[in-house]
């Protein structure tokens, strides 16, 4: 039974009224001081008998009537499950949540969870319904609200341990939804997991419907020793025109009691290339540097492994690496520019580990269409651009190309294409006083300067600027660098899918000495890579991530070197082979082609029925957070899962809905009326009885009490 207005229960204190009246009537009476009671005490008849309560029955009637009045005002009502439809007396909606995160592969944890689930399904009542939900980072309903035990049991045979991390929130949310949609009066959620603390934050806001409960079933125990490969660094270098990669693996160990030596191996394209022994102390870490290997083929698969332990998911780190590709940068030096105005620029771009930039150089003010073919970025150095060239550049930028104007004494830009620039170019401004101007402000959050944001990561303040072109930035432009007098040094405007940068001083050593500073080389490389639009490919993904195979940028991020070489042609179906060997069809279409990376290992994407030499491959590793097997107390988690009846402060809508439901129940039952009638009847009965008793007592003068 619940109460709509429990505050009125304070009125139960009124039960004490008859007693208080009895006592206070005695105490409030006049007290007569008398010299001695020796005669009065000898008289057998006294009012003292009033002290005793003679008619308990009458007093009980009064007290009961008052209590009923208080209860009636508290508006009682029966919850659904206490009306004989409770969890033990009626059909239930059972939701079995089984943890399939990769930590469940330890020992027989997962098998125990399945056995527990079978036992739960076998104990279902004839009217009970049950759902099976597998969860890791997300939750998947395997079987929803069925009374068919065989279906449920069969479903258990199909589930496997996954590669994701544990998150209790989504699973409990699914359970909440199932229970809320159920018409059955009782609900019970069985949570079968190893209860990792990392899976619960306490702020998930789960509110199960009233009458529901969570039953935790713990199926795991903490592991005492676990070695994991936490990271693999892939350092590249160019040797004799070929790229060499030096893998360096970092290993960590949780637990253990003494140092242990393990053999760490490096596999490339499925073949073990090297192995190294390494000693790891308890709760320590170690680093293993392998010999470099020559990288010649795109989509080269690699893995660093340690011998399998109880938790094998984190015993290997997979990666995919491809030879680096050079960005084609077109450097256009104006016809009126000084000789060798681009000397420093070209030399800087030419210096790199590996061939990062291919440079095309032209000394002209015009840009021909063929100049832009295959070009990733264009640097116009002190060029007076004509209108036709500007329009070509406009198309180039709109399609995703990058353009950088380096302003010099001869620089010019046609007014017809002024909207492309991040501002308007002004006259030459000299800073000949003192030691010239300096760069006073840099937008370190921008990708160009991000590499210089750390301490001792490049000093721009050493460069002196004696001359620059005046520049008034447009409202839509972003100023990335300013001189110490506040004038613009570098401005950007995103235009179409590309970008336009304006550097208001020269990149040689005529107007400034930046080219003589150590920071010049990385600065020019950073600008060129930004203008050329280079995207760093990810060597691996984390289990649970999703890749849109219809998005070119996503594919580039995923390390796709050449769609043609991989056989991935737009408009054709694709198929993805999972690490476990299953095929996922990715039909062609206008929309995205999402591939969910759920398993650890290598995903291969190719046209169906084909077998290209170097197919597109993506490596997937597990989230190492799951390797932390620290437990949360199951009861603590259950306690934080509220129910509507006693739930902690949650959403206002939820509370309102709960209140409305309670009010509806109370209104429909209207128990208060019956209770009031009963109280009134008791009062009448008590009055009649007491009158009868009083008459019977007659002149006895004895209080009824």
């Amino acid at each position: 039974m619940s109460l709509l207005v429990p505050l009125f229960l304070l009125g139960l204190a009124g039960v004490a009224v008859p007693f208080v009246l009895h006592l206070t009537r005695r105490q409030r009476r006049n007290v007569v001081p008398f010299p001695s009671l020796m005669f009065l005490e000898r008289i057998p008849y006294q009012e003292q008998r009033r002290r005793r309560i003679h008619y308990w029955f009458l007093l009980s009637l009064r007290a009961l009537a008052l209590a009923l009045v208080a209860i009636a005002f508290a508006r009682p009502f029966f919850e659904q499950d206490t009306l004989g439809l409770g969890e033990n007396s009626g059909p239930r909606e059972v939701v079995v949540l089984i943890d399939q995160s990769y930590s469940m592969e330890i020992g027989d944890h997962f098998d125990r969870a399945l056995d527990e689930a079978r036992a739960i399904f076998n104990e279902l009542g004839p009217l009970d319904r049950a759902s099976l939900v597998m969860f890791g980072q997300g939750a998947r309903v395997v079987t929803r609200s069925t009374a068919d035990r065989s279906q449920l049991t069969r479903a258990l045979d199909t589930v496997r341990v996954g590669s994701s991390v544990t998150r209790f929130g989504p699973a409990l949310k699914v359970a909440q939804t199932i229970l809320e949609e159920s018409g059955l009066p009782g609900g019970e959620v069985f949570l079968l997991t190893d209860f990792q603390r990392t899976g619960w934050t306490g702020g998930e806001g789960i509110r199960l419907p009233a009458g529901s409960k969570v039953t935790p079933i713990e199926v795991g125990e903490e592991m005492s020793d676990n070695i994991q490969v936490t990271d693999v660094a892939l350092a590249r270098e160019a040797v004799s025109g070929r790229e060499r990669v030096t893998p360096t693996a970092r290993l960590a160990r949780r637990g253990g009691e003494q140092s242990t030596e393990v053999m760490v191996s490096l596999d490339i394209d499925g073949q073990e290339l090297q192995s190294r022994p390494v000693t790891i102390p308890p709760n320590g870490s170690a680093t293993v540097a392998f010999q470099p290997f020559t990288l010649s083929q795109p989509h080269t698969r690699g893995s660093v492994r340690v011998p399998d332990d109880d938790l094998s998911a984190d015993d290997a780190r997979h990666f995919v690496v491809s030879p680096g590709t050079a960005l084609l940068m077109l450097v256009v030096e104006g016809g009126s520019a000084a000789r060798d105005a681009s000397l420093y620029l070209q030399r800087a771009l030419a210096i790199s580990e590996g061939r990062r930039f291919d440079i095309a150089f032209r000394r002209t003010n015009a840009v021909r269409p063929q100049d832009l073919d295959g070009t990733a970025g264009v640097i116009m150095n002190d060029a007076n651009v004509d209108g036709a060239s500007a329009e070509r550049l406009r198309s180039f930028v709109e399609d995703g190309g990058g353009l950088m104007l380096v302003l010099g004494p001869s620089s010019g830009w046609p007014a017809s294409a002024a909207d492309m620039l991040p501002g308007s170019i002004g006259p030459v401004q000299d800073r000949l006083q003192g030691r010239g101007g300096r760069l006073g402000f840099l937008e370190y959050g921008h990708p160009i300067f991000e590499a210089f944001s750390g301490p001792r990561s490049g000093d721009f303040t050493g460069a002196q600027f004696f001359r620059a072109r005046g520049f008034t930035p447009a409202d839509s432009a972003t100023v990335l660098a300013r001189f110490d007098d506040g004038s613009v040094a570098l401005a950007e405007l995103r235009y179409g899918r590309g970008t336009v940068l304006v550097w208001t001083s020269a990149l040689d050593n005529f107007w400034n000495d930046l080219a003589l500073q150590p920071v010049y080389l990385p600065f020019v490389h950073s600008i060129a890579e930004y203008v050329g639009g280079r995207t760093e490919a990810l060597p691996w993904f984390v289990a649970g991530q999703v890749v849109d195979l219809a998005d070119p940028e996503a594919l580039e991020t995923a390390g796709l070197v050449s769609a043609e070489a991989a056989g991935l042609v737009d408009g054709l179906d694709q198929v993805a082979l999972t690490p476990s060997g299953q095929s996922v069809r990715l039909p062609a279409g206008e929309g995205p082609r999402y591939l969910r990376l759920e398993e650890r290992g290598f995903y291969m994407v190719r046209p169906p029925g084909s077998n290209p030499d170097r197919p597109f491959v993506m490596a997937v590793n597990v989230e190492l957070e799951e390797s932390n097997l620290a437990r949360i107390d199951a009861q603590e988690l259950v306690a934080q899962v509220g129910t509507t009846a006693v739930g902690p402060s949650g959403g206002t809508d939820f509370e309102q809905a709960s209140d409305m439901r309670m009010q509806d129940l109370e209104r429909r039952q209207s128990l208060w009326r019956w209770i009031l009638i009963a109280a009134f009847s008791l009062f009448v009965t008590e009055t009649l009885l007491s009158n009868w008793v009083s008459r019977k007592a007659g002149a006895g003068g004895v209080a009824a009490g």
Binding site: R26, R29, N30, V31, V32, P33, F34, P35, S36, L37, M38, F39, L40, E41, R42, I43, Y45, Q46, E47, Q48, R50, R51, G701
Partner: protein, 308 residues
């Protein structure tokens, strides 16, 4: 007895002074006693009752065995008969008031409490005796002796002071103090016991009897409030024992008859017991004038004097 029979008439003259309610307005006990005694005596002078006087004497015929030094030779010269000249004795006896100051004595249903009444009475009697050149003393007691003023000719003021500050505050008991008093008052004398005697008659006699047995002339005044005698209460109330603090609920209308019966029986029993022990006993109603008590005292003194 003749004189006693006239006492009420005599008291009438000074009645306005002896009314306890009037006396209650006089805060000075000495003044009160003097007022009472002088007024009382003034009324007495009109009566043939001789009273007490240092100068009073009478003659009686000489009988063989009388001290011949007491023969009034002048009268013999005139009448040629032998008369013995008797002077009113300078009594010079010990006079002590034993005053109960237990808490029950503080009760009073009107202006004068029992203690006040007893205080006036004690002051007057002491004043009387002092004038008679008795050695006056005073003992106040509740369940033990509270104040003791040994009998002396010079202790009148002390006694008045003791009376003045006497307060009824504690539980009372008659037996223990009486034993101590008997030890203190070794010399025979007149003992006036003033109390409400809320004790069993056996206990009272057991307490007072030894004093009489030691040769004291004991005069007992039982002071009671009219409400204690008539029990005029009507409303159902809690009755609280002044001494013990115990409370019992009482419906007076149901108990009045029984109470009066018990009280009367108690008083009669006390009086009978005192009479048996040759102790003068007088019940005093605090609403009544003091003269009854004074006459009772004088009557006792007279009897004592005649015994001499």
């Amino acid at each position: 007895m003749t004189s006693h029979a006239r006492a009420p008439a005599a008291a009438k003259g000074g009645g306005q002074f002896l009314d306890p309610a009037v006396l209650a307005r006089i805060s000075n006990l000495e003044l009160l006693a003097r007022t009472v005694v002088d007024g009382f005596l003034t009324g007495l002078h009109r009566s043939p009752y001789l009273g007490f006087s240092m100068d009073f004497a009478e003659h009686r015929q000489y009988m063989p065995g009388d001290d011949i030094r007491r023969i009034d030779w002048k009268l013999f010269a005139r009448s040629d008969r032998h008369y013995i000249k008797l002077f009113e004795a300078d009594t010079n006896t010990n006079f002590a008031v034993l005053l109960d100051v237990s808490k029950s004595m503080s009760y009073g249903s009107h202006e004068v409490s029992k203690l006040d009444y007893a205080r006036y009475l004690a002051a007057c009697l002491t004043f009387f005796s002092h004038r008679q050149r008795d050695r006056v003393g005073m003992v106040t007691f509740d369940h033990e002796i509270v104040e003791y003023v040994p009998p002396s000719m010079k202790h009148m003021d002390t006694i008045l002071h003791v009376l003045d500050r006497a307060e009824a505050g504690r539980e009372g008991s008659l037996y223990e103090p009486s034993i101590q008093i008997a030890e203190l008052l070794g010399r025979k004398g007149i003992l006036v016991v003033i109390s409400d005697f809320y004790e069993e008659p056996d206990t009272i006699i057991k307490s007072i009897g030894p004093l009489r047995a030691r040769g004291h002339d004991v005069i007992v005044f039982q002071v009671l409030d009219p409400a204690e005698l008539a029990f005029p209460f009507e409303e159902a109330s809690g009755f609280e024992d002044l001494e013990t603090g115990e409370q019992i609920p009482v419906i007076p209308s149901k108990l009045k008859e029984d109470y009066i019966r018990l009280m009367t029986s108690h008083l009669e029993e006390i009086e009978r017991r005192f009479t048996d022990h040759r102790i003068d006993y007088k019940l005093l109603d605090t609403s009544k004038p003091l003269d009854l008590a004074l006459f009772q005292y004088l009557l006792a003194r007279e009897r004592l004097r005649r015994k001499r």
